[in-house]
Subunit: 218 residues, 2 copies
Amino acid sequence: MSPAAPSPAYRRLSVEERRAQLLDAALSLFAHRAPEEVSLDDVAEAAGVSRPLVYRYFPGGKQQLYEAALRSAAEELRHCFDAPREGPLLGRLGGALDRYLAFVDSHDAGFTALLQGGSVVETSRTSAIVDGVRRAAAEHILSHLEVTDPGPWLRMTVRVWITAVEAASLIWLDEGKQPPAADLRDWLVEEFTAVLAATAARDEQAAELVRRLAPADG
Amino acid sequence: MSPAAPSPAYRRLSVEERRAQLLDAALSLFAHRAPEEVSLDDVAEAAGVSRPLVYRYFPGGKQQLYEAALRSAAEELRHCFDAPREGPLLGRLGGALDRYLAFVDSHDAGFTALLQGGSVVETSRTSAIVDGVRRAAAEHILSHLEVTDPGPWLRMTVRVWITAVEAASLIWLDEGKQPPAADLRDWLVEEFTAVLAATAARDEQAAELVRRLAPADG
């Protein structure tokens, strides 16, 4: 109630805070429109700031803003699979998928545009950012599984499953978010154990993992 | 031995034959280089024709040539999953994968550039061509399985498995074509039955398919 406290709306933001505010505004626009349909004017309007200010932060224009927003989204996605190392392994995987699907749910069209390519602002640099997220997710999973030296079959199994998660979320958005996220999460965990079990028939490392997963989580 | 027979090298080609010749030359260049690194000059040289002739067939330049080559590759890929309707179902799936992996093997870097995006010549139109191949493959598989009205779980399972095949082939190229193609094919068929069995736990349509696949192919 102190009259001396400045209203947050008028507080002067630091450079980092302002940048984060503009990226938030951009990400929320990308959630409903393809990146090529979002202008710097739209971002200025959504953030309630002047157009020159947006240009001061992103002098490279739309492409720079898009890449910064993509990096910020990638950072968030990386955290999804960076779960605490406690509890049953399949429960941790389910938790990571819950966070991932919540991100997909809230970013919607922006997530599709980001992953599906075909956007006019997509370049080999933006593809590398998306690929970095996939690699990070694979590393987190292998590290939770306590595999330090994954062989080719296990690497293939985990990387292919991550693409399956991505494809499933795109299809999920395409089908109007049906089936419910919780069912999709359970199905994806079940698919993980199923593909791991299939790989176990030809790979000792996968077989060892199946044995470790079974008693604690089964 | 008749002196009247013209040498094939000097035979005048029809418009369609010439076009096919130029596309073959382009596809073989795309097999070793990213599309943006292939010029119309290169195509003229590879086909042993003049540069103006290439321009006459592809007045839209590189972008038009790339799209035509992509369409021609897409046509080939569609045929991979269009197998004869005879023999055990899993055997047909293995045959389709053999054709698919042979295509991946022979087109190599061009296949990666085509599917991974990040190419400067990628547009929403080229993405639609690639997506059309995925949809056609899903339809062929469902039709072989004699499913006329697939529910959401079965559609999801088949579409996600197709992305898995794609991801696995990109990883396979990335790893210097290891493991051998025949092992990768067997693994992909095993993954198909594994994910179908996992889906069967929550979906009657998938359960029915698992029952049908088991006695004949198991």
